[in-house]
């Protein structure tokens, strides 16, 4: 190579390359590390999404899932949002997943980031509903007889049941989520009538643990 005129120049050039390689790699890796640290709790991935770590190796951020969602539920994270830029998510309180039986979002995914192994939308595992309304839920505080979440749930009578409890000398009902059936679609959170939803869908890894690991 003509530009390598002397040994000193050659060594200098090599050092220059290694240096820029190091700096560049360090910057990109650091940026990526910051970008991929966890999913905010209100953010739910589409049905069939691989575990967050695998999802980030698979999703090419093309948005075909977003385009094929008939309910405009899904959105691609924009630069500056706390979700990895360009990856799809939805916020249940805004528009929940309507659980289409043909799962068009997953059908459209070219890479399998939304796993084509999911054939039955009722087996989806987007997140997990959690009852947070001990002090606010109309049914549980005994203010009224609301059961909006129960009625909204597409996995009727299995994912959410209204369980009777004795509270302050009265019978009240608590929306109770059954983790084996809840798909995390977020319809309960969406339909909840309190200001802040009294039932919320959270990413599953934040909520459900393998019982065997709990010390």
């Amino acid at each position: 190579m003509a530009f390598l005129k002397s040994r000193r120049k050659f060594i200098g050039r090599i050092l220059q390359y290694l240096g820029s390689l190091g700096v560049f790699g360090f910057l990109i890796a650091g940026h990526a590390q910051r970008e991929k640290t966890g999913l905010p709790a209100i953010v739910i991935r589409p049905p069939g999404a691989l575990s967050e770590k695998d999802f980030l190796s698979a999703c090419v951020r093309c948005g075909l899932c977003v385009r094929n969602c008939p309910f405009d539920t899904l959105k691609l994270a924009e630069l500056g949002e706390p979700v990895t830029t360009g990856t799809p998510y939805f916020v249940a309180r805004r528009i929940p997943c309507e659980m289409c039986t043909d799962i068009p979002c997953l059908e459209a995914c070219p890479t399998g980031a939304l796993s084509h192994a999911l054939l039955d939308i009722n087996k989806a595992d987007m997140g997990l509903a959690v009852f947070t309304g001990v002090d606010t839920c109309y049914a549980f505080t005994g203010i009224g007889q609301c059961r909006a979440c129960y009625l909204a749930c597409p996995v009727k009578d299995r994912a959410i049941t209204m369980e009777a409890h004795r509270r302050g000398g009265r019978d009240v009902f608590m929306p109770t989520v059954h983790t084996d059936y809840c798909t995390g679609c977020g319809k309960c959170e969406h339909d909840c009538i309190t200001d802040q939803a009294s039932i919320k869908v959270l990413p599953r890894h934040l909520v459900k643990q393998d019982a065997g690991l709990v010390v």
């Binding site: 390359y17 890796a29 951020r61 385009r67 949002e81 990895t84």
Partner: protein, 288 residues
């Protein structure tokens, strides 16, 4: 293609008007804007010719296209890519293998308009070329990308890639994505001439390697007319590729610009007052 010497008195008049001086530039801009328009027609006009973005898309609901470099990153990150994306990546690769890899850079990539503008302003404002980043750095970056994908388990270049960040921003709602283009533009304008596309961008480096043996090439077929005015070197984003084709006659080098780094932008064809260059194909290189 005529390689025989043309006597000077028979040269056709080199007078070019404004249009013919910018013919390929105008064609190329039209193509770039058309590419953007095709992606934007869906979300804004409901005309779904292409769904998705430059990372992966679906044309008229049947043809899948996937960026091969992004698919490779996914493979290196440890994901067993689904067959749709693999077929899409092969389709895209085949196209660029024929027309020239870096045709992606000069005819499709939306960032090119910003970097071309920066280069033009640079020459207009007579900004000096103070910092030189070796053009080989992009190959180092290209090597680094799969390595870091493997190490971090993510499609790492997509955290940085201004092409997809910007185009996705346009198609799906902007956010801060304009900022990325601005950064690249300012970098090219103030830091170094044609620094991003010419020295750093691993996407361009990848497509350059992909099209290293591409069919369609620019040909300095009438190089004997060259007056050494240097206009082509001035406008070329990769001037080093012109040298062997234009000056290699005595060394027996082909008049075809054979380097994969050539973006087939055709700007040299436009500006040459002697009409030295034209689009041709590699097979003219084979002589009986």
């Amino acid at each position: 293609m005529s390689l025989e010497r043309i006597p000077v008195e028979q040269l056709d008049s080199p007078e070019k008007n404004r249009i013919s001086r910018n013919r390929w530039l105008l064609t190329r801009r039209t193509c770039q804007l058309l590419m953007l328009a095709l992606f934007l027609a869906g979300p804004f006009l409901g005309l779904w010719v292409i769904k998705g973005n430059l990372a992966s898309s679906e044309v008229l609901g049947v043809l899948s296209l996937t960026d091969p470099l992004i698919m490779l990153q996914s493979l290196f990150a440890g994901h067993a890519v689904y067959v749709t994306a693999i077929i899409g990546a092969i389709t895209v690769s085949l196209f660029y293998v024929v027309v020239g890899g870096r045709v992606y850079c000069s005819w499709v990539c939306p960032i090119n308009m910003a970097t071309d503008l920066a280069a033009w302003l640079r020459s207009r404002l007579a900004l000096s070329r103070d910092l030189v980043i070796p053009k080989q750095v992009r190959y180092v970056v290209l090597f680094l990308v799969p390595f870091l994908c493997w190490q971090t388990g993510t499609i790492i270049w997509e955290f940085v890639n201004p092409i997809t960040i910007f185009q996705r921003g346009l198609v799906y709602g902007a956010g801060l994505s304009w900022g990325v283009v601005l950064l690249v533009f300012l970098f090219d304008l103030f830091v170094t001439k044609r620094g991003w596309c010419g020295a750093l961008c691993p996407v361009g480096a990848f497509y350059g390697l992909l099209g290293a043996k591409s069919l369609i090439r620019v040909n300095a077929g009438r190089r004997n007319r060259c007056t050494d005015c240097g206009d082509c070197y001035q406008v070329c984003p990769e001037p080093q590729v012109i040298v062997p084709a234009l000056t290699g006659e005595k060394k027996g080098l082909s008049p075809l610009i054979l380097s994969g780094e050539c973006t087939n932008c055709g700007r040299c064809i436009d500006v040459c007052p002697e009409n030295v260059f034209n689009f041709s194909h590699r097979l003219t290189n084979i002589r009986p």
